[in-house]
């Protein structure tokens, strides 16, 4: 479900792109430090975005560090702080509950890989529960609610997206300043709504084949395994509405050094990624494809 939100890189200067990378690497290091090497695999763009939003207002500084992926030169890494720590704790809990959800959705053999991942993550999850027990409680509640609405074959997009959106809104609780907390709550709520709906569109065909619940099927009354254009247009509009709410809320924050990166996310990336998913051209490039592209790029 995670990993959609990234900055629109062509808009950004190399310096700004490396700033985002520094946050990405910073979160990776923090995950490793707090939860062990296996937890580094949880790293994704959405959690990085989260870490950046939580870090607004705190001074930004980098240090050069090495890791298994960049053993020689190392790379610039955002210095650890409360925001990265919180983002790491939340990442572990969110991923854990996502795995539980997958295990519940799949049969014994289909769910084996998720069971294995959950096994590897168990220790990290227990540690994160000790650190942020209220968020774990919220996640548990949210997923129960999500399962209930799914079993009812909920036909309202908003009602189906609500539990997940409300869960992400809980992330804002870590912010001390009440005004900023309000702003972040709204951003995270609509981030959750947007991710849930984009994910539903992304999974539409797979869900149609497997018979799993997909809110778009019931909302737009689709029979086949392809979303008709009319439904895509309607979905695009409701995604836009969430993006506009996020952007208006974001305008009230002082993004400081992150202005260019976050501008590109709120004013372009959300639209671009949504469009790519609805057009069916969005997919996370596999390692082999990345390598091929990289070679092509070098040529």
């Amino acid at each position: 479900m995670f990993g959609y939100v990234r900055p629109a890189a062509p808009r950004l200067s190399p310096e700004e792109n490396s700033r985002f990378r520094a946050a990405y690497c910073g979160l990776c290091h923090t995950l490793g430090r707090r939860y062990g090497a296996a937890a580094r695999f949880l790293l994704n763009y959405d959690f990085t975005f989260l870490a950046i939003l939580l870090s607004l207002g705190a001074p930004f500084s980098c240090e050069r560090r090495r890791c298994a992926v960049h053993p020689c030169a190392g790379c610039e890494v955002m210095q650890a702080g409360a925001a990265l720590d919180a983002a790491a704790d939340y990442s572990v809990i969110l991923t854990w509950w996502q795995l539980r959800d997958h295990i519940a959705d799949h049969g014994f053999f289909g769910g084996l890989k998720y069971r294995l991942a959950a096994l590897l993550l168990r220790g990290a999850y227990r540690r994160s529960c000790r650190r942020v027990p209220e968020f774990d409680e919220a996640a548990r509640r949210c997923l129960r609610e999500l399962a209930r609405r799914e079993s009812e074959r909920c036909a309202s997009l908003d009602a189906a997206a609500e539990p997940f959106a409300a869960l992400l809104a809980e992330l804002a609780m870590v912010e001390r300043d009440p005004v900023k907390r309000r702003i972040l709550r709204l951003i995270f709520y609509h981030l959750g709504r947007w991710i849930y709906l984009v994910d539903a569109a992304d999974d539409f065909r797979r869900d149609a084949k497997s018979g799993n619940y997909n809110p778009l099927r019931f909302r737009y009354g689709v029979e086949g395994d392809e979303l008709p254009d009319e439904a895509k247009r309607a979905l695009g509009e409701t995604l836009d509405a969430s993006i506009r709410q996020m952007a208006s809320a974001y305008a009230l924050l002082d993004a400081g050094a992150w202005t260019a990166v976050l501008d590109s996310i709120f004013y372009e990336s959300f639209y671009a990624i949504g469009k790519a998913v609805l057009d069916g051209v969005y997919h996370k490039p596999s390692r082999a494809e990345r390598k091929k592209k990289k070679e092509g790029g070098m040529a």
């Binding site: 890189a9 908003d158 695009g236 208006s248 609805l278």
Partner: protein, 215 residues
Amino acid sequence: MNDPYKILNIAPTATDDEVKHAYRQLARKYHPDNYHDNPLADLAQEKMKEINEAYEQILRQRKNGASHSAPREGGYASSSAYESGSSYESYGASGGSVTQQIRLAINRGDISRAEQLLGAVSEHDAEWNFLMGVVCARRGWLDEAKRYLENACRMDPSNGEYRGALEQFTGADRYRPAGYRSFGTMTYGGDNCLQYCATMALCNLCCPGAVCIPC
């Protein structure tokens, strides 16, 4: 009081034109139209007030001497033009006592109360649909909000308030920083080159050695 130049994010040496430009940019950013369906409208209003005051203060200071450039031409005196016009106040308009109570609850920001009152109304007329739309928008239930507002407009096509709310809701004409065009999810792109570059550059985030193929 805070430094008015800091609020407008400009240097004290900025020319009058630069001051005006900075003010206009910020006024556009925090314009009530951008926050029509947004629960943070009050925060935007505060910002707007701050900006208006800062702008007026600078104008006053410059009028009393110490101008940095050619004297300001007239015509842009109404610096607080953006201040008024927030729409939620207008909900206190017509209607029976229940809808009036609902409108008051919405104005207070007491959405649960408004929802409760709406739930007790048996006749689902145009106004009921409109108020449901407003409540849903405040809750973040944007798909439902649009459906209710559309219902309201269908049931009473001549009502300007309902039509206005729906137009505000679907309007793509929101603030964007310089350089960002106005598009929606389904109207994004067209420029395939840029899209291709975007994908490439995203991959490059993971493998910094790679270069985007010039297209």
